[in-house]
């Protein structure tokens, strides 16, 4: 058993879990953060993507023990006070989700893309960087559109914050 301490969505948490427990199971079963999903078990689908120390990671392919001491952000940590994060809002505005099961992972990947590539990220880059996130509902068309729109909105938010 391992004692793991980490910060999840800004809150310090700790738990004593089996060493083999996956981060995704720690989030879902121990912390009741069920917005992070399990889709494929083999690290392809990306439904389980969260941010570990600011970087997109597949939480089904990481032990909770590996994440000890890290700062974790999950889909539940994006919106605040009933206000959707600009990327979440962009998915709604552009109908970027249907069943919604892949959506939390898509959005966490999308925010990571914008963090790395900036607000003017182009369509080709978005498509290439979504290779680790599979959606069976949308055909990706509106997801790509949502991310481009969310990126612009995040960019103007960053600009406002800087001013």
């Amino acid at each position: 058993m391992a004692k793991v301490e980490m910060t999840i969505n800004g809150r310090s948490v700790s738990g004593v879990v089996e060493d083999r427990m996956l981060l995704v199971d720690f989030l879902r079963e121990e912390r009741n953060l069920t917005g992070t999903h399990i889709g494929c078990d083999t690290s392809q689908c990306g439904s389980c993507v969260v941010h570990v120390d600011g970087k997109a990671v597949k939480s089904c392919t990481m032990l909770a023990a590996q994440a000890a001491g890290s700062e974790i952000t999950t889909i539940e940590g994006l919106a605040s006070d009933g206000e959707l994060h600009p990327m979440q809002a962009a998915f709604r505005d552009n109908h970027g989700l249907q069943c919604g099961f892949c959506t939390p992972g898509m959005i966490m990947t999308a925010v990571d893309i914008v963090n790395r590539e900036g607000a003017d990220v182009d369509e080709q880059t978005i498509r290439e960087q979504l290779e680790g996130n599979i959606c069976r509902c949308t055909g990706y068309h509106n997801i790509v559109k949502s991310i481009a729109a969310g990126a612009k909105e995040m960019g103007s938010g960053m600009k406002e914050a800087a001013e």
């Binding site: 959707l84 709604r92 509106n142």
Partner: protein, 824 residues
Amino acid sequence: MASHLDSNVIPPSRQRETPRAGLTWIGQSMKRVEDPRILSGKGGYIDDVKVPGMAHAAMVSSPHAHARIVSIDTSKAEELPGVIGVYTGEDVATVVDPCPSFASPPVTQHAMAIDKVRHVGEVVAAVVAEDRYIAEDAAALIEVEWDVLPAMVDIEASLEAMGDGVLHPDDRESNKALDESFEFGPVSEDFDAADRIIKRRLRWNRSSAQAIETCGVISQWDAFKGGYTIHANTNFYNFIPFVIGGSLRVSPGEMRIIPVLTGGSFGSKVFIHKIIIMTSALSRLSGVPVKYIEDRLEHFTNSDSHGSDRLYDAELAINDDGTFKSLRFTVLDDYGAYLQFGVGTHGNAMAQVTGPYQIGSFGMRVIAVLTNKTQQGPYRGFGSEVTNWVMERMADAAAEELGRDPLELREQNMIQPDQFPYMIPTGNIYDSGNFQKVLGEAKSLFDLDAWRKKAADMRAEGRCVGIGVATCMERSVYGPTEWWSLNNKETPGFTLTSTPEGISARIDPSGKLFVTLHSPMVGNSPETVVTQILAERLTVAPEDVVINYSDSQSGFNGVGPQGSRFTAMVAGACVSAAIKLEERLKRFGAHMLQRRPEDMELRDGKVAVKGLKDQETSFADIALNSSFFRLSFPDGEEFDSGLETTAVYDHPLSTDPHEDREHLGIFYPIVGHICHIVAVEVDPGTGKVEMLDYAAVHDNGTIVNPRTLAGQVWGGTANGIGTTLSEQFNYDESGQFVNPNFAEFAMPTANEMPRNFKLGHVETPSPYTEYGIKGGGEGGRLGAPSALTSAVEDALQNYGVKISALPITPPVLRGLIREAEQAA
């Protein structure tokens, strides 16, 4: 002239809300009501549900395609701390009976195998434990001794199998599950009289939907009441108690099925009855609530939702002038190890088997073969995606043999706008349409003339560029006769005839319109479309509509999202509910305003006196008075308190199959039309296909929400692209399923989708449904394979490559190119 269709009389329309311009909410791209909770991670899917005292199940699955179970040793697993119980198929059979089967005669299937396994992944034992980690540890300790039997993998070889190669020797002497022949109209005469017969052998290989969420169940046996409380991500929660009650040995009313938000279905979660039965048995045996969520491997190998797997020998009779006369085929269907839905997927295809063309007769022999693979279930198209492809392949083949332009030949044979309702040889009708207009829009959206010139120029430079066009039907609003109409006439088995959909609705004194749906959300947009339709019909603001879901004990009737039916059907229920509510609103409102009900109208959420501006009272006021101040109104039942109603809408237009099956009746009549045009380039070095441009025009009648409909078209098209270019389940000769995971089964990512995807809509309203709505949930996958296959064949015209099997993966295309190079 007498026809086999004379006895199939089209009933009159029961449409109440006519299609019309100037609607307020229907037709708006309203943002989805469903989204905020999903976007913030609070959706509530099956694996998010936790029940007090819940234990977790893990399964032991067969590593063999066909084997007898000699023994199962569970002793080590039982000793593991945290294990509550370990159960084999024989244990499960003490509390449940075999699964329901729509096949006639049925093929026996146990939710957990007994004595024998018939495909890799079939479950033989389960562990119930405190958590899933322990359950899986224990499952790994269970030892099974097997007596391996010959695996039937090849469809034609399985037909010939004897002895140990027969899958169900107790039910059937051979692996031929069904062999029925049909002639709809003068097939032989038409073939004899035709100038030419085009023949093709066409192969459609197996794949499946693979929604990103697998199937899951939480079941809790109530030992005191003797029933089950079940959470499950089935499409069909209001109907499934009636399907599985017999298996669970309880009456349907003793099951409470609670729906959850469902992470994609595309047909794959229509029933999921097997794991509901299995998990329920585990709860009953262990005495605790049990959660079972399929892992991805189990979803691939045991989820009973594999898609079509068929071999066609097809013939199209034509005249030299290009006229299509008759179509016939023999189809061998590799159904897998069981036959849960009979040949319903072939019944479905009878709705539109002759495509958008005037073809006078149609004949078919269908042979369903049992093999040692996971059995088929529904997948977006439910069999019609295959016959669409067969029809379009035959149209391309006819054009090639006649030396005609494939598009122009299609236009020559198309049903004309003044021929609707049009009855096809099987007896189904196409209610309405304007195929020429759809084609025209698609051509201009794609800029076909310019592209044809450009493609020719690119080919002249040595590039492999081609264009494909498909003009296909999209049947919607299914009637359930498809499940049994092709069964043996003497023993048709399961014979349901209607597919009702209901809602309940209540206006409370806060002024909110509370609506309860009786079907789940599976990735469609039920809350959004119902909000739009009721806002339209009752003049309320969409933000005043609050949507909830019933469970199987609190809501009836609902058949759910499948067969592209939900929006059109629930629209009927909404209209029925609105008519009933309107009557009560007017009665109470008229009394409050001291007017007659017939003087009143609904206006912006108020009951108002026709033509008078200020003479009105709000729904909230009426609800307040009718609910809390009943005594202010006259005596009599018509003033019973409250504004509440339930409403059920039945299939708008169906007739029964002819008793001698001269025709199959009208069963899938609300018919859309689609045209897909795609330009592709094939990399001859690798065989990889790139889509350069894509246009799709769909006619789904009156559109409720253009944005959500577009989402369905894009998504279905992506599924169709995957089916065509990459997705296939591979079995080796020993029956091993070689690629049952996302690392081996190749689905398209964002990077494989066309960059230029243009979508257009034509609206030809149905004369039979409310507001003229048609379904649109499957069309993308019903059109994309045909267009893409044609385009790839066109791109490889310099090699003379012909495509007769899907998928056309890079190595397949590279192999065809190499053969052509070697021949040259």
